[in-house]
Symmetry: D2
């Protein structure tokens, strides 16, 4: 496996109400959201009496075959693709998570991370709760099941108000579909319509695939209830300052999506333009790191008038695993995914555009690959500020001490990487490029979390102490 | 598939404490107990810190491969093979069932059927419990988790005392293994020792395979706690009259096992002798229906001095499924498993020995097969009394109305089957042949249940109303 | 795996002509013949234009699923189950073997062993032939393809006359089905009819399953051509003395089959009677080794008036592989398949009936198992003469030096096994029990082969020197 | 499935001699060549005594696992990825193809199409050859096996000289590796060196991945023999005019490869520049069709000074299959792979750059997708001339009548597609952009084949008349 040196999105969610092809539509929605999680996928569907749930480790296209989709009869469905932030990467932890409780069957899909999960779980266990997974979703359903209020919406809102952290949440009962977004609005969640039926999704690219029309974002702190009476909106918490995850623009979201109200692709191009203004340098060519760096590369090239060349070519058939040669030079793991093109690189002064630097191990190998191909100069330009702190809101980041910018200045990183110059975009530059309708979470750049975070507990993996399941 | 026309055992359990090869031993124990359930199998193992659990649909030898066993490290283990009485036949319902609760991880293997499961579940749900399976085991663990007593054994005993029904139960925590048998003693459970370490099993045939020594039965209403201090026995309920399942002798248990203190094979031979005394008839040969009828056949032949012949030969390679020809004569499904041997049958007066008649559909096809081979006379002898009532204590029986003897006299059945004579063993004859140290449950012959049973709720399948899971 | 200590049948063949359910019937025929080979299975079918062929490693019921059978459209079919004598156990060597040659597509199923295969192959290679498998079948088709005669039957007969060794052979072209048996008649091959359509099979048990009527044996040296004109018989070689394989009666064939014109089960019982006459001994019980020893056990018990008991109980769920415990006592591998029943064995003087002794390793472990259960005396009775020589005609036997009787007297074997007495049936006794219409091959008892055999070349495995394929 | 509307490369080959990690290197080589064939893959390896061969349907990364690579011991290896031009897409037809013949084991990997295969096969069958596949490779080995010359190289050259058509061929015996390229040089084949050991490959991108150094092309009509004495070159036919496949530059080869002596990426950019000169048009943006059109898009944008935008975003997780919704609008199949980005497209005058038009069905759907997103004008620019004729030299093209340009003028196609203007690059423009060291095959643009081609026989699929194998 490639050493993991990326901030990693952990989940995508999709839901649809009262559609004759609910399961197929959800399958396609997940297909489009596959980049948000490639470890497991699942679909739960209600035929108004029973909820069926099918989930497995693997890619959407490998898991769901015609006969499986056909067996998942019903007209309300929610789906989930998962990477794995909280909860270990085992089949038991795949979502949607479904149970039977006093009000009947219920299923839930969650993108995000509940940072007070550990405390909530301890409290629930003391009251006799048993846990089968290490998912936040199981905690949320326990809270809901414990709530004795007759009013379903109110009992959900009560439960949500106990949660601290990030969530784009879909809850399906026999007859309705609920979508809720945490009061800070960390993770994206959008509402759309196809053939007169409502759909919800993490990103609009899922709407495009099924020809659905994009209506609007679900607002931070908003819960919408979709049932046979239509859509009803509830604002359960409007007090929190917005903290939309700016990294959705930088790296996670698909370039063809609209996220937090603005086209991702256009933001990325803006970032390149901005960076070209902030950190210009004389060079022969601009080389973007595919795929996320490409749009920023266009922007930088446009602004600087320095031609862009595809100096790295991506191998489109890289599987989830590959087997390294024994006598491996260190750069092999990088080369298998991106092949540097000697003809383009040789004797050139290069501006290399990448989205971010995490540990810097991968970046270093790419720099070396460029040098091996005869690059004359390498100027590295990064379209995000230095990442100095871990994320606790749904993104898989290494511990703080492994983030190179947490303990090194830009000059030091420049030296470590062996580049002729290194520049990051400024926080202001970043904020100028994104949709200014929202406020953003910058905590991975400045360590300022919206509430107190105990790193030990916030990212506590229950399975670290007492694993209760085992899958091969 | 062969039409299901047999009483069907639903589960087998096996456990071992503090053995360096705990997982391998459990694998072998389940291997030997495979006849008690072929639908799914699982092993949970404790390494004193964590509990790992691996379970799947399929046969023991297909599920557990070397690398899987090697991954299941630990020295306490429990295992389970399952047919499926309560809970639908889906992977989610495979056992052992393991969760994490306030006292840590816990795993459970259950053979039996809790007839007040529906009520208990409703009560638990009202208090906010959520359910992920339709297993009795999940209810038992909920009861345990809700119990606030500090004393672990006492909280288990409290929980067991809420249960009505049958259970041979294994519970494993990080550091101990508990085995309990319901106060009526419906299902068998035995204690043994191998290499100085304790083992528990549904039948002794599992002990034979691992060269363990048989010590004794776990008594009805007894719970034993095995930990590093040795074995401690608790009698949590000695008030109930014993009701050991007599069908274990007739059909379910392996002939080489000791069950309820007596060799199964020797009981079966006794049954044949007894039946020859009760219902003699002049004939040329005795033909047993393999395999369960063979020992009774020996007994009948010995007593009657009429020679035994293997008029039906079993195909040892019958898979779980086979594909019928389109132009199928009705008897094909019977013939694929047991081939009647024309040379033996032709022109003979035959005494056919079988263990029981359930719906009579299979029996009828076998009679026809004998006639097609030219049998001159057929006298059918059954080594159990007429089955008139459903079992609710861990055996899969058809509904009462589908049991031919519930609505037909012996003479009528004789006519329906088209045999020259039909005789069942008497209840007294049956009781004379088994271990008289115990009392037995005869409710499938007389409908006298040890406590009130509401058929609707006792065999209520939760998934019938609201299925919450889906597996292909 | 159990150490291999049995003579092993290597193949079964089945064919059917012009039947609307040709593929399904062949599937069922192979199902019934599964005991003749469990390593791979295949079906080739002609729709009068094309021949389709599907074959895989595994059991018939695992390989062939509904959609596969439905895809194999056509009304002429041949099938094959294979153990693996000649040719290594790899998928490439599965049968039927099909190719395209000058006269169109052709498929072949072969049970037997061509002892001059090595020479024939060398000659063919010198003329430019290329080989993809190490199957005798590929050689036979090469001979056929090289033959320039216009007459199809004559070119087959020419090819067969070049072969030395054993073959029960089915050849299918677009429009016809040919069945041939070698001039010595080593391997069985029978003709039957179902719904007016002709079928051929290694054993009649396949006819029973599909309700086909048994017509007659294909004679040694006979070839029958089945086409739309009916059946035509050709005797291509009537000069050789018959050498039917007597071990088909002793061990290989299914007890419910008719082989070489006589019921296998009745022969086996005869063998037990004969042996009781030849080698009587005073004892308490007769214990047969299941399954092949059971019928001989009946015979011995009937003749001696000593009661038969099932002292070994077979585990019906033994998979193709199982994983041994690390701290294995030597007898484990035996016990997993046959569990000795202590209650029956203890303090008894036992006559143990088995079909044969090959290496004696398994026999020795079973004797020890009986002793461990407290047997007082053990008298071993074997219903075949001492096996002193290897078979080269389609049976997998160890090399001569590994056959215990090749270098030890009966007294010595008795001592090695540690039994109180050992007796084998006499050759005369054996011959008296089988169908006296035929002559039999006794070469494994007397080393007298019907023609000169060079052990090196006759059992030469081409893959030993130059493996050309590789499958996991 | 997406309707097939592309010229399709059919195979890639890779070989390595005397390398300690021969199998792993070949695996990686195939990994890099995966774009040349995704249907099956295989590796044959020689340990100097035996040749092992492993091949399956599927992708390289799915087929080859660590334990499989480790089992393929040896230091000479050849590999193959296959799409499927000649020979049906069944496992039997996967390559390498290996057999045993008079000189020992031999394996072969072939990229190309032998147009006189049908005649050669008929001649071979007449002489008694049997065929198990429909591969050209089997014919080549037959020719070789029939050749009685003692000299191995000469017998290969004799065989090659009988072939008409395209081949980049690797042949491996126990001790040597031969690489040959047809006299016309249709398909690419290059020589390299890694760690002092020779490697051969269809493209240089495979060299990059294993850090091998590119030495030179194997010349048209050249055969090189690599053995322990080094490399020996033979020119078996220098008479034919070169006909390198120009489509390797346009579409097939990976952009980071050097093919026919020139960087593919640089050729593609040249094509865009050239086309901008030949067919300029006023517009707001240039949109390339990913991925092949991107480099041409850069060129066109650079030359025209019209900015390039990624108006189509590729979904990187498109599996080999996906399931369409029932109520499918026609454009779904296009959208699943490439999502048009409304924000970029809306109200724009667009120059759309694509590599070629085959049937035009996919092109038409993309044009419609652009219109649905609100494109104001669409000018389609194609960097290859109109495709009017089928390829018979290793490329999968539809029949001539299905090629839209075979029966329609540019103006007509423009109208059918509904674009505001359509322009193809000129043949001269195309030739000016590629490596002028070679001559090129332009027969798909002008129908002028280098020798007479009988379409019926040249693309005759043997399985069409008489399929001899069947795989699911």
């Amino acid at each position: 496996m490639l050493e993991h040196d990326k901030m990693q999105e952990e989940c995508g969610v999709f839901g649809i109400f009262n559609h004759p092809e609910a399961t197929h539509m959800t399958y396609l929605g997940l297909y489009a959201l596959q980049h948000r999680g490639q470890e497991s996928a699942g679909i739960a569907v209600s035929d108004r009496t029973r909820i069926k749930n099918y989930k497995k480790m693997g890619l959407v296209s490998d898991i769901f075959k015609e006969r499986i989709l056909n067996g998942l009869t019903g007209n309300i469905a929610i789906g989930h693709v998962r990477y794995s932030t909280s909860g270990s990467s085992i089949e038991r932890n795949a979502q949607p998570f479904s149970v039977y409780y006093s009000k009947g069957p219920i299923a839930i899909s969650h993108n995000g991370n509940i940072i007070n999960a550990f405390e909530l779980r301890e409290q629930l266990e003391e009251k006799g709760a048993i846990f089968q997974t290490t998912l936040d979703s199981e905690i949320i359903i326990h809270l809901l099941a414990k709530n004795t209020k007759k009013n379903f919406i109110q009992s959900i809102i009560d439960s949500l108000n106990l949660l601290k952290g990030s969530y784009a949440l879909l809850i399906m009962s026999r007859d309705n579909l609920i979508a809720a977004r945490d009061p800070w609005g960390f993770r994206p969640l959008v509402l759309g319509k196809v053939g007169g039926k409502y759909v919800v999704s993490s990103e609009t690219c899922a709407f495009d695939l099924i020809n659905a029309e994009y209506i609007r974002e679900i607002e931070p702190g908003e819960l919408i209830m979709i049932d046979d009476n239509g859509v009803t909106s509830y604002y359960f918490n409007k007090n929190e300052a917005h903290r939309c995850c700016i990294f959705e623009y930088v790296y996670f979201a698909r370039p063809d999506s609209i996220v937090f109200g603005k086209s991702v692709q256009s933001v990325r191009k803006e970032l390149g333009i901005q960076l070209a203004k902030e950190a210009p340098v004389d060079a022969d060519i601009v080389i973007p790191v595919p795929d996320s760096g490409i749009y920023a590369g266009f922007g930088y090239s446009d602004e600087s008038k320095i031609p862009l060349e595809m100096g790295f070519v991506r191998n489109h058939y890289v599987g989830r695993t590959f087997i390294k040669p024994t006598q491996d030079d260190r750069s092999f793991g990088v080369r298998v995914k991106l092949n540097p093109v000697k003809e383009i690189i040789k004797n050139k002064r290069i501006i290399l555009i990448d989205d971010s630097i995490v540990r810097a191990t991968t970046t270093k190998m790419r720099i070396e690959a460029l040098k091996n191909c005869g690059a004359k100069k390498i100027h590295l330009r990064i379209v995000s500020p230095p990442i100095t702190d871990s994320c606790f809101f749904g993104i898989d980041t290494p511990d703080k001490e492994k983030l190179i910018a947490s303990s090194h200045s830009v000059k030091e990183i420049e030296k470590i990487l062996g580049v002729d110059s290194l520049a990051y975009i400024s926080t202001e530059g970043l904020l100028n490029s994104v949709n200014n309708k929202h406020k953003y979470c910058l905590s991975c750049f400045d360590g300022k979390y919206p509430f107190e975070v105990n790193p030990e507990k916030a990212r506590f993996r229950l399975e670290n102490s007492t694993q209760i399941d085992f899958k091969f």
